[in-house]
Symmetry: C2
Subunit: 346 residues, 2 copies
C-alpha cells in the first residue's frame, strides 16, 4: 500500500514516533511500524521493486531519483545501491523520522535526502525548474486505487519528471472475474440473517455494499479474467482514474457465481528485462490480496456462458481516497439473469 498518511491533516506532525498515542496513529496511520512491516514482508512486492531497481544499474547510474511516499526508505536505498547520484524521498508521515535514521545508519547520508511533508508543498532542493530522471513509488492500494496515492505520483510526474524520464513502475492493469463462494458468503453475508436468534438484516445490506479484501483460492474462479483498465504511468491523467469499463466474463465450467473478484498486475517495463507481478488469485500471496464484490443474488452459469456488464469506478466525492464502484451485469444463456450493485470502498 502507498506510504503516506491517510489524513490530510498531519495531526501527529509535531509528535515524535516514540511519543505517539493511538489518537496520533488515527491521524497518521503510516507512522506505525506495523504497516511497514507488512509491506516489507510482502516479498512479491518488495523483491519486485528491488529487482527492477538493483538489476538495472545502467538506468540508475548517476541519475536523480524521486521516491514519492518513501516510508522507511527502502526504495531510496535500492536506488542508491543501483548507483543513483541523488535520491530524494518524500513522505508526510512521521515514519520518515525513522527513515532518516535508517538511511544514515546504512551509509546513505550523502546520497539520500528525505523531506517530510506533502509533495504539493515541500521544497525538494532541486532549484527552479529542477527535474528528476526517475520517479519510484509504491502507491498502490487495495483494488489498485483504494486509498492509493496515485494522484500525488501523477502530480509529481507532471511537475518534476524530466522529458524522457522514467516511472517505476510504469504499467498497471486492473482485472475482474467471477467466483463461486457459497461457504464464505454465508459466513460473511448470511450471518446477519440470524445473530443469536435475532434478525440483523439491516447490517446485511451494508455488508453487501462493502467489497471484501481477502485471499481467494484459484479453484473458486469460474470465469476467465477480463482486463477492465490499463494505466500507463507515463501518460495517464488524474481524470482517467474515474472510468467506466464494459466487461465480458466467459464461464469455464458449470457453477454458481456469488461474487465478482478484482485484482491488479504491476509492471516495470523500463527495465532491461521487464519485472512484473500480479496480485491475482493465480499468483503468490501479496498483502493486497484480492477484492471480493458480493452480488445480492446467486447467479447460475453454464460452461461457455458469458456474463457481460459494465463496471464504473470513481473516487468518492466527499473523500477522494475512497472509491464508489457500481457493477451492472447480465448472464447470457439458459440461466439468464441480471443485476445492479453499488459498492463503496471506505
Amino acid at each position: 500500500m502507498a506510504s503516506t498518511s491517510t489524513n490530510g491533516a498531519a495531526a501527529g506532525a509535531s509528535t515524535s514516533t516514540a511519543d505517539m498515542t493511538s489518537k496520533d496513529y488515527y491521524a497518521d496511520s503510516y507512522a506505525h511500524f506495523g504497516i511497514h512491516e507488512e509491506m516489507l514482508k510482502d516479498e512479491v512486492r518488495t523483491r519486485s521493486y528491488r529487482n527492477s531497481i538493483i538489476n538495472n544499474p545502467h538506468l540508475f547510474k548517476d541519475k536523480i531519483v524521486l521516491d514519492v511516499g518513501c516510508g522507511t526508505g527502502i526504495l531510496c536505498m535500492f536506488a542508491a545501491k543501483a548507483g543513483a547520484k541523488k535520491v530524494i524521498g518524500v513522505d508526510m508521515s512521521n515514519i520518515i523520522d525513522q527513515a532518516k535514521i535508517i538511511t544514515e545508519v546504512n551509509g546513505f547520508k550523502d546520497t539520500i535526502t528525505l523531506v517530510k511533508g506533502k509533495l504539493e508543498e515541500v521544497d525538494l532542493g532541486l532549484g527552479p525548474n529542477g527535474k528528476v530522471d526517475i520517479i519510484i513509488s509504491e502507491w498502490m492500494g487495495y483494488f489498485l486505487l483504494y486509498e492509493s496515492m496515485l494522484d500525488t505520483v501523477l502530480m509529481a510526474r507532471d511537475k518534476y519528471l524530466a522529458p524522457g524520464g522514467m516511472m517505476f513502475p510504469d504499467k498497471a492493469t486492473m482485472y475482474i472475474s467471477a467466483i463461486e463462494d457459497q461457504e464464505y458468503k454465508d459466513e460473511k453475508i448470511g450471518f446477519w440473517d440470524d445473530v443469536y436468534g435475532f434478525n440483523y438484516s439491516c447490517i446485511k445490506d451494508i455488508a453487501l455494499r462493502e467489497p471484501l479484501v481477502d485471499t481467494v483460492d484459484i479453484k473458486s474462479v469460474v470465469c476467465d479474467p477480463c482486463a477492465i483498465k490499463q494505466l500507463d504511468l507515463l501518460t495517464v491523467t488524474k481524470e482517467e482514474l474515474s472510468f467506466e469499463s464494459d466487461f465480458t466474463l466467459n464461464a469455464t465450467r458449470d457453477d454458481y457465481v456469488h461474487a465478482f473478484l478484482g485484482w491488479f498486475d504491476i509492471s516495470f517495463d523500463a527495465c532491461h528485462k521487464p519485472v512484473q507481478f500480479s496480485t491475482g488469485p493465480h499468483s503468490r500471496y501479496t498483502h493486497w490480496k484480492q477484492t471480493v464484490f458480493y452480488t445480492k443474488d446467486v447467479l447460475a452459469v453454464n460452461q461457455g456462458d458469458a456474463i457481460t456488464g459494465r463496471l464504473v469506478c470513481k473516487p468518492n466525492e466527499r473523500n477522494n481516497r475512497d472509491l464508489d464502484i457500481t457493477i451492472d451485469y447480465q448472464v447470457q444463456g439458459a440461466t439468464a439473469s441480471s443485476g445492479h450493485m453499488e459498492y463503496k470502498m471506505s
Copy 2:
C-alpha cells in the same frame, strides 16, 4: 472490545452509516459493522453474556437495565428477553442507528430505548435521581484496560446504579506469565536487524516497546500464572485502574523466556450459577487473544526458579485510552539476571 467511539470528537455524528467515508471511520471506528461482526462472532464472549443474562430471568424480570456502549444492541435484546421491564442502551457511535433498526425489527420497540451520545452528556429519561437496577456492559479491551471504556462504566455505576444493584460482569482478574517464543520473536523483533540487507534496528527498539496482541500456544508457557490485579466492578474506583503489582512466576520447566504474557478472566458472579470465561492461553480463542511483552534479553530459567518483579500499569497522560506499562524483573537461581522494560499500548 468495548463498543464506543475511539475518538472524543464524534466526527461522523452528522453522517449516516451508509454515507460514511474512511475519514469518518477513523473518527468513529465502532460505526463499522466489521468490528461488531468480530465481537458477535466471538462466541466465548457473546455466549457468556447471553448465558449470564438469559439463564437468570429471576434477576432481570421487571428490572430497569442500562447497557453502556450498546453497539448493535445484542446485550439489550438479551436483557429484554430475560424479562427486563425497560432497557436503556447508550452508545456514541453511529452504529446505534443500526441498533435502533435491529431492536425494532426484533420486536423490542417498547422495551428498549437507545440513546446516541456520551454517557456523561445524555438524558436517559429516568427522571431526576432516576436509577437502574442492573448495568450490563462489554467494556473490556486488550490486556483488559487498553482502549477500554471502564471509566465510563464506573461513572455510570456511580451516577445511575440503585443501591443493591448489579453489574454484569462484576469481576475481572488480570494475569501474567512468561513464555518461550524464539521463533516468533525472531520474526517480529529480529526481523529488523536485517531488512533486505539493511540495518533497521531503530525500528526494533520501537517494536520492543509495543506489546503484541496475538494468540499464544499453551505449550509456550513456561511459568505458572500470577494474578496481578483483581477488579470488583461494584466497588473499584477509576484511580485504582492505575496500579503497581509485585509478581512471582514459578518456572515449570527448564527453558528460555522471551516474553511476558498478559491476559484476563471475566466473571458474572451475580448469576445463580456464576458464568466465567478466560482469555488466557489455556482457554478457547477470543478476539482479545493474549498480550505479549517481549523482553530485550532472553532469560534462562530452570524448573523451580522464580522470576520476581513488579508491573506498573497506568493510562497514558496524553491519551487515557492508551496504556503505559513497565515491567521490572529478576530471575532468581543459577541463571540470575534482571531487566527493566517500558511498554506503550497505543
